[in-house]
């Protein structure tokens, strides 16, 4: 059955991230000068304005910074998913990314809960990084 939910729309800045996701890698830019790991992707480092950059692959571990539970489907394709959880997950490398918490009920999600990435291969082109409760919390 065709995938009905919205898909990412990679642009010149975000394409490397989404290409990484297809290979199940969370890729971020690290500043070659100050070491700041930035998100969203950008042409220069917002901390020091240096453009020299290397791409790193994040470990896939993180913690729930905060979250919200959708009880209403704002888009028809999510009708069968409610209640579902969107969250800002903070990665130890620095960035905080918007994602879903899966693999537990919404009532089990807590702020600062340890989580780890789980890949949702939604189409041939796109894999979405989602997070589930960590199997072995540090």
């Amino acid at each position: 059955m065709a995938y009905k939910k919205p898909l990412p729309k990679p642009n010149a800045d975000t394409r490397p991230f989404w290409e990484g996701c297809r290979e199940h890698q969370l890729r971020f830019q690290r500043c070659g000068h100050c070491g700041h790991v930035r998100w969203p992707p950008s042409v220069i480092c917002p901390a020091c304005h240096v453009s020299e950059t290397e791409w790193i692959v994040a470990s896939g571990k993180g913690r729930v910074y905060s979250y919200a539970v959708y009880h209403v489907a704002f888009h028809p394709a999510f009708k069968d998913d409610v209640p579902y959880v969107t969250a800002a997950v903070e990665l130890p490398e620095g960035p905080r990314i918007l994602t879903n918490i899966v693999g537990c009920s919404p009532s089990e999600v807590k702020c600062d809960m340890p989580v780890e990435v789980v890949w949702d291969d939604v189409t041939d082109e796109f894999s979405l990084p989602k997070f589930k409760p960590a199997a072995h919390p540090d």
């Binding site: 898909l7 919200a68 969107t86």
Partner: protein
């Protein structure tokens, strides 16, 4: 400091209303135009006096509406201002722009306006609903804009210091009591109890329907001019005693201000320093209240109470009619109508002009006679904050 020289130099001289609430069969543009014409009339000016027009941002047109631009508004008003401007993405600097233009000598009478046919046009303020295809990668995760973005921020505040529905129900119920005194308010005829609030379904948890602003048809405008010029006009002028804006400018998901302090803190500091007053000189507040939690965090960041202390502070109707610190006396965005920052600001102005009838601060509502009112406006999801302190000169 230069700002101090601007204290009380500019004033709001007129307010324009339109029919509001559910007003079917009208374009958004028609509300802009009517609100502007009424503000001009209210101030006792003619349209030829208007030399500046600043519009709030306008969302994507609904139905077959054309896009609202300042050119169109000016055309329909039959005016040719020196300056036309429209805010792009919720940076709420309208009053600062107006004051800057007047201080530099470009303008003398500036109109600020917002209007929408959001209710009858079934706008949801969710991009998905007005775009055939969501424009944001977050949509891939089922994340659709303002409600959940604010809900996520509120959740962090619940986790860190015990914000939550017990606090927000007080805010929602107290504002509804103000709306019940305001015949213009969409919720004028509808009471709201704690039980109603707690029984309501979640939209995006931790927010229930009563935590969210209304969606309204209608428009609102005001006219800014020098206090000196305003003295010759129809209404008693209400001067801008202090003003400050601060833009944290980081998407809420990456921000470090989900649980505060938001830009309120810095914007407030600038405005209070300019005004040369303290919090205890504030008689009432008109706070941008897109969600109940926004009222809590804004007043918390101004310093009315410490993190989490809002749970007690809002109790016993402190902010309701008869309370010691009235907040959102029209009913606000939650219970009057949604006209962005013009709902709170124009209410502050009308209160100080003494034109609020049954809900008038003072003896009519067993509250303090207002001399100074603290108003706020927010943009984005806590990305922009604007503080405006107005007073009866």
């Amino acid at each position: 400091m230069y700002l101090k020289k601007l204290k009380d130099r500019y004033a709001i001289a007129g307010v324009g209303y339109t029919p509001q609430g559910n007003v079917a069969g009208r374009t958004a543009l028609s509300f802009y135009v009517e609100a502007c014409a009424n503000a001009i009339k209210d101030a006792g000016l003619t349209k030829e006096d208007i030399d500046g027009l600043i519009c709030y941002r306008h969302f994507e047109p609904v139905g077959n509406d054309t896009e609202v631009t300042p050119y169109l508004v000016a055309q329909h008003l039959g005016i040719r201002p020196h300056i036309l401007s429209q805010e792009a993405n919720c940076a709420r600097g309208h009053l600062l722009h107006a004051m800057g233009l007047m201080e530099a000598g470009f303008c003398n009478y500036v109109l600020i306006v917002y209007g929408d046919n959001a209710h009858s046009g079934r706008r949801t303020f969710i991009r998905e609903a007005t775009h055939s295809e969501p424009a944001d990668d977050n949509a891939a995760f089922g994340e659709f804009g303002a409600v959940s973005n604010y809900a996520m921020a509120a959740r962090r505040a619940m986790y860190l210091y015990g914000s939550g529905p017990e606090t927000w129900k007080e805010i929602g119920v107290s504002q509804r009591r103000w709306a019940n005194l305001n015949p213009r308010a969409m919720m004028y005829d509808r009471s709201l109890t704690y039980e109603d609030y707690l029984a309501a379904n979640w939209i995006v948890e931790p927010f229930r329907i009563y935590d969210a602003a209304l969606i309204s048809d209608g428009g609102r405008a005001c006219i800014v001019t020098s206090t000196e010029r305003a003295r010759d006009l129809r209404n008693p002028p209400v001067s801008i005693m202090g003003i400050g804006e601060y833009n944290l400018s980081v998407d809420i998901h990456q921000s470090d201000f989900m649980a505060g302090p938001t830009g309120t803190k810095e914007a407030g500091k600038i405005a209070f320093e300019m005004a040369g007053i303290n919090l205890d000189e504030i008689d009432a507040c008109e706070i941008y209240d897109c969600f109940t939690h926004t009222v809590e965090i804004t007043l918390q960041d101004y310093g009315f109470f410490g993190p989490g202390e809002g749970r007690d502070w809002f109790k016993d109707g402190r902010t309701a009619p008869g309370g010691e610190m009235p907040v959102n006396t029209s009913g606000g965005l939650l219970s009057e109508a949604y006209f962005m920052g013009l709902t709170p600001l124009t209410e502050g102005v009308m209160q100080l002009m003494g034109r609020c009838g049954e809900r008038q601060l003072g003896s009519a509502t067993k509250t303090k006679e207002p001399e100074i009112i603290l108003c706020s406006d927010n943009g984005g999801v806590f990305q922009t904050h604007s503080t405006i302190i107005v007073r009866r000169p």
